[in-house]
């Protein structure tokens, strides 16, 4: 029920994200979700893509530092309060969220979550009013 997220180490410099998206585009790899964590001198790009194995292969071939991280991706109704309800439930069950990112389209909102305890998080999410996605 979990999916693989690509974490890519990037220096803070103009054009570096383009380099990466160009490579993925050239190999026909689609990006479903995308988030950037940044510090003063480097950033970590988090990506959910259509073909994980191939993405890792082509990025490593171009010298990117890539690693895979297990995350859980859910979709919930794109209405006020729906995410709050899910997060409340996770907090009550002592699940800490290290980071998350989300995007909404139409009547659906997708949320990628990286919790401290993935297994427990998935179990608890299955009790909530949301779908757990298998994107790729």
């Amino acid at each position: 029920m979990t999916i693989k997220q690509l974490s890519i180490f990037l220096e803070n410099k103009t054009g570096r994200i383009n380099d990466l998206t160009k490579i993925l585009g050239r190999h026909g790899i689609n990006m479903h979700a995308f988030s950037m964590a940044e510090t003063t001198d480097f950033g970590i790009l988090r990506l959910i893509v259509s073909d994980v194995e191939r993405a890792v292969e082509v990025l490593r071939a171009e010298n990117f530092a890539v690693m895979l991280t297990d995350v859980v991706c859910i979709s919930c109704p794109n209405v006020a309060g729906s995410l709050s309800e899910i997060l409340d439930h996770l907090a009550k069950n002592d699940i800490f969220i290290e980071y998350m990112y989300a995007f909404a389209e139409g009547d659906k909102a997708n949320v990628v979550i990286h919790p401290n305890d993935l297994e427990k998080c998935v179990a608890e999410l299955s009790k909530c009013s949301c779908n757990i996605n298998k994107l790729s």
Binding site: S7, F9, E11, T39, F42, I44, F64, A65, V66, M67
Partner: protein, 432 residues
């Protein structure tokens, strides 16, 4: 003014005779007291009696920083421990610092040459003088301190740090002279202005600047902003500390206290002695030192020597401005930094590739050091916290080895330029 005209204005013939006598005595002394020199001379089939005049110095072996390191801690010390009254240490390249022991007579010579320097700048017993070199193992603080006391001026041992308090002391105690690094002088000027004060609020008139390379433009800027005259003060702990040479009021080269420190210029590749006026590596022999005398110590500083009597009346040989180094040593905020020190730290940490780049710059008159290093792919983590922890681990280790803090920049694998042959590890953006 001249502190010791008998020595500083000696005729060249008299100086030659004095140096010759002192060199003979020195060579005999080290031959009998320092196995390192005795072995070297025996290998060269050289006896102390072969040294008859100062011109015979070319027969003697050189001493390098590596020799000092190899003989850590007391291998080159000539005087017995009971005669040593103080020890200083300078930063080492990879691990061992250089330990220099001084006898009571060495300290007397040191405060004599420092008094000569200060007098040449125009300092008298009526001045109040702030020593703003670091006090401690570094020779700058204590070396300048005892020179000021010997001269009879009032010494204010401010050391470094707490710049605002320092400026209040300069103003309230009507401090007239200061010794510090030129970059610290600029930082003082900046702090003064930030405090809403100007050179008209203080009474500084003379500055003795050294321990790092500086330019005529920096001199002009310091002089204008602090309202003083700035003079060069040269020295190195392996020879003595500050006081080896100094400018005079004509500001045309630095007079070497030649009766104690004999200068030569050599070609760093062939090791041949070069004539006056030719640029090469500066070499010193400590003619009178007892604690840790050195024969022909290679400073790695590149400059020229000039002879001829100066307008001020001194007859000593003068050295020109330091034009660079014949090794890769960097001087950052007055501290000696070798790229190999950074390399040794990085090689010890499996998280990093053995590729690195030092970027040195000067921002707001303070030197900055950035260390760029590549993270090994296997050690990369998707978690910002652990990446920052990795960065801090390296920064902490660098700080303990270099004694100055470096800004660590984590780089992507393969992003630091690989060079063919001798790799380039330093980008120095400072405009000196």
């Amino acid at each position: 003014m001249i502190w010791n005209p008998n020595k500083e204005c000696m005729s060249r013939d008299e100086m030659h005779a004095l140096q010759s006598r002192r060199l003979q005595k020195l060579v005999t002394y080290v031959y009998h007291n320092v196995p390192f020199y005795r072995n070297k001379m025996q290998e060269m089939d050289l006896n102390p009696e072969d040294i008859k005049t100062i011109d015979d110095i070319v027969k003697l072996p050189f001493t390098t920083k590596q020799d000092l390191r190899d003989n850590y801690p007391y291998g080159l010390q000539a005087a017995p421990p009971s005669e040593i009254v103080r020890v200083h240490a300078s930063s080492g390249t990879t691990g061992n610092p250089t330990i220099v022991g001084y006898t009571r007579k060495d300290l007397a010579v040191w405060s004599e040459v420092m008094a000569r320097c200060l007098t040449a700048y125009g300092i008298t017993r009526n001045d109040t003088f702030s020593v703003s070199y670091g006090y401690g193992l570094f020779t700058g603080g204590l070396g300048a301190h005892y020179g000021v006391e010997n001269l009879g001026a009032t010494v204010i041992p401010t050391s470094t740090g707490n710049t605002e308090k320092h400026i209040r002391l300069i103003r309230d105690l009507k401090i007239t002279g200061i010794a510090c690094t030129p970059s610290y002088a600029l930082y003082l000027a900046e702090t003064l202005e930030k405090m809403g004060l100007s050179k008209d609020d203080i009474s500084l008139r003379i500055g003795a600047f050294g321990a790092e390379p500086w330019t005529e433009n920096m001199r002009k800027e310091i002089e204008e902003r602090l309202g003083l005259k700035g003079y060069n003060l040269y020295g190195l702990s392996e020879i003595m500390g500050p006081g080896v040479s100094h400018e005079c009021e004509t500001q045309n080269g630095s007079h070497i206290c030649e009766d104690h420190f004999y200068p030569e210029i050599i070609n760093p590749d062939t090791l041949e002695q070069l004539p006056y006026g030719t640029q090469g590596e500066l070499v010193f022999t400590t003619l009178t030192k007892e604690g840790m005398p050195v024969l022909r110590y290679r400073t790695k500083d590149l400059c020229t020597l000039m002879d001829g009597t100066c307008e001020c009346g001194r007859t000593e040989v003068r050295m020109g401005r330091i034009m660079g180094r014949s090794d890769d040593m960097l001087i950052i905020r007055g501290i000696n930094v070798f790229p190999s020190q950074v390399e040794s730290v990085i090689l010890e940490m499996p998280e990093f590739e053995p590729q690195y780049m030092l970027v040195v710059d000067r921002v707001n008159n303070l030197d900055t050091l950035q260390v760029q290093v590549e993270v090994r792919r296997d050690f990369f983590s998707g978690d910002v916290g652990s990446m920052l922890a990795m960065k801090k681990r390296l920064a902490d280790k660098l700080k303990s080895v270099l004694s100055i803090s470096a800004d660590v920049r984590l780089m992507e694998p393969n992003s630091i330029e690989r060079s063919q042959g001798k790799s380039k590890h330093v980008i120095d953006k400072r405009k000196l």
